[in-house]
Symmetry: C2
Subunit: 445 residues, 2 copies
């Protein structure tokens, strides 16, 4: 995804970011992650190009922000063929797509990969994506989530209800490929979708792919608490993150789910090395490649305000843009009332973008990872590949052995992605998940 | 695709058809085809399940007709990574999809494969696909083609106009990933689509993928003559096919295209072996696995008439179903007025489905291929993989060496798929193609 997360760092001599369009690059990424023992590879995706900064896409094009890029779903089979155990998290939006099609795509990938697929459920599209696709802008924020709820309801039925586990017979003597008695069409008439037919895939190892989500709004957290098995979250300190995590687990309980069945991962950028000094040196080196304008273009697209027209050293006036406040709060570790200038924002985003940053040798990073896990009550981390070809390798070389030595991390075992996270035998949605057949039968009676 | 083309033959002991959901099967298919020197692998695709026969999908499910199946587009990268030269033809419909999304998908695959992607443009959906997707049934036959024309117009602009060839700079010193002056958004407002934005892919080896099409109606042939570079056609005899080919080339000329720039491929099923007797024996063996009911279910879905309710040995009455007549004409080699019973239809479809069939040793098959090429004025054949794991291999072992010996076939060279078919250097749309920038500039001025 070129420099999706780290404006300017594609220029680092060790960065492989510009190879985003080569199959060999992705195959190498996947093999490397599997070798080190990472759980999975999550590839972000988005349509359209950030075009708020100076009211145009110019900065995005100049710096390779989100564009040019590829469709990640189409790279998975090559990576799956080159690995045995690694999970793959991919994004499909529930806007401007159809559940029958997306359900088939996810089943195909789950089947071909042996049950190693996670779906990052994105409900909305940016305004530039809406203009490019020519659809998807009809719904407001909450309606988008209503549509997503219905999208999931259709998808659950296709994945879980259509085909019995023993429906495929391959009976060559009687000529029965499958038993029609054990295959049922679904019949759904909702506010957003009408779907009448048979799911095109036979049951895949996970049936419903592992469900990932990153919604942070009130409605987004409610959606995540209902559907997600893995939630991506971000906050500047463990204490602030803890509030989100507690709220997510509380909401999951209200939906009848085991609150521990929600795995919360914090976004995290790590710059490490042999020791603290080496890590700090490397961090300064990375910093020197960061692009202030590129990061402000990303920030502008996120908050929807063209801060390109402002003086770089003039403090932002929040009254002009209430939304900016919340996002800036995610930057501050100490003072939520601090006033920021555009230059300070760019500076803060230099290496770690919106998420927290750890710089240090293996012991410092491991200490901090333990502290975050404990204080925020989270289950893991979504590491940012700041310098592709280097960042994951650094973490694997220096930090993972230290975490293993402390007994707080061990190499994942083989199996479906869900069973790797929830334990052997847990290939399918658990019974307390709203998408499980058992849960939906109870609800509907 | 399980038994998409050959009902019942999945039961043949040598058939690998049931491995359609294994990556290793597809990777092996691709490697095998490349090794023999086939031009490309075309994978058909469709949404929904045939459900006309006896008014239900029961027969389709029982015999694995189109279902269960996978989304072929998601298997390409694994096959591309395992091969160097083979082309890949994949299907995306222009109904129930958005051009901005499909254009990105095709660019992604063209990029990752090094320019080896062909797009089989399908304009319509079956009625059961419309019910399953919940959309796409709003347009009648001709409107579908109008939408497809507009879809292509948008796609050409995205592929050909957005990014100059030299737009991507990767200038690490100045920090310029790309030059915004050489990247332009498109702005399109049509009857079916509104698209405002930048194509997300930088120029790929072919830019516009090789365009494949199979429309056989009047409007379909007009569409193919305008857009297609490769046309799939089918007729029972070379003489009948010749009429279609002449019409296609004549229409292409009217669009200002070189009529030879339209490569017409005939669907063809070949059963061969060491000599005629071996081939005949193999054919009888294949026949013994054919399913009459499965083929009638496929036939019923194609003509939209439930012939499951008819007596198997009662001649069809065409007056009930005018559409059936045209399709039955495609069966007859001699007498267009022949009256068919359902059993005779099933019998005729046993091994070769709707297309022509050649059974014989290498010399007989090569003779017939030469005759078809000459009499029908076609450029090649789209071979049916009747018994996956066996049929392509038989053709490669017995027929290709004979064709090479006669000097009518040679191994394709490396390069983009388009250049393999149209000659070295022809990576992009030719200037006389309606999608080429030159042609559109002339049209619009």
């Amino acid at each position: 995804m070129t420099t999706h997360t780290t404006a300017g760092l594609w220029r680092h001599p060790e960065s492989q970011a510009t190879r985003y369009d080569e199959l060999e690059f992705w195959i190498d990424r996947a093999r490397t992650l599997e070798r080190y023992g990472f759980d999975g590879l999550f590839i972000a995706d988005s349509f359209g190009v950030p075009d708020v900064y100076h009211g145009s896409a110019e900065q995005a094009v100049r710096e390779g922000l989100q564009v040019p890029s590829t469709d990640p779903s189409l790279m998975i089979s090559a990576m799956a063929a080159a690995t045995k155990r690694l999970g793959f998290g991919i994004t499909f939006p529930t806007t401007a797509t159809l559940p029958y099609d997306i359900a088939r795509k996810l089943s195909t990938l789950d089947q071909l990969s042996g049950g190693r697929i996670g779906w990052n459920i994105v409900t909305g599209l940016s305004s530039n994506a809406v203009r490019a696709l020519g659809t998807g802008g009809e719904l407001d924020h909450d309606e988008r989530y209503d549509r997503a709820d219905e999208f999931l309801e259709v998808a659950y039925r296709l994945w879980e209800d259509c085909w019995d586990d023993d429906a495929v017979l391959l009976d060559r003597v009687n000529g029965d490929y499958a038993d029609p008695e054990r295959v049922r069409p679904i019949s759904f008439e909702g506010d957003h979708f009408r779907v009448h037919g048979i799911h095109m895939s036979a049951p895949t190892p996970q049936r419903t792919p592992l469900l990932l989500q990153a919604g942070s709004s009130e409605r987004g957290r409610e959606f995540a608490a209902r559907h997600a098995e893995v939630v991506f979250a971000s906050a500047p300190t463990p204490t602030i993150l803890r509030r989100t995590v507690d709220d997510l687990r509380r909401r999951a309980s209200l939906h009848g789910r085991d609150p521990r069945s929600l795995k919360v991962l914090s976004i995290l950028t790590v710059v490490t090395g042999l020791d603290d000094a080496a890590a700090q040196e490397r961090y300064e080196h990375y910093r020197s490649y960061a692009s202030a304008e590129g990061n402000l273009a990303r920030f502008a697209a996120t908050v929807g305000i063209d801060i390109g027209v402002l003086d770089f050293d003039e403090p932002l006036e929040y009254s002009q843009a209430p939304g900016i406040r919340t996002i800036l709060e995610n930057f501050t570790r100490a003072d939520p009332h601090r006033v920021w200038t555009p230059r300070e924002i760019a500076d803060h985003m230099a290496v770690s973008s919106f998420g927290p940053l750890l710089v240090g040798g293996p012991e410092h990073v491991a200490d901090e990872i333990e502290r975050w896990s404990r204080e925020a009550d989270i289950d893991g981390f979504n590491l940012v590949d700041v310098v592709p070809g280097r960042s994951f390798e650094e973490f694997g070389d220096y930090v993972l052995p230290e975490l293993a030595r402390r007994g707080v991390w061990e190499r994942p075992v083989s199996g479906t992605w869900r069973s790797q996270l929830f334990g052997s035998g847990h290939d399918r949605l658990s019974d307390d998940h709203p998408g499980s057949p058992r849960h939906r039968r109870m609800r509907d009676t």
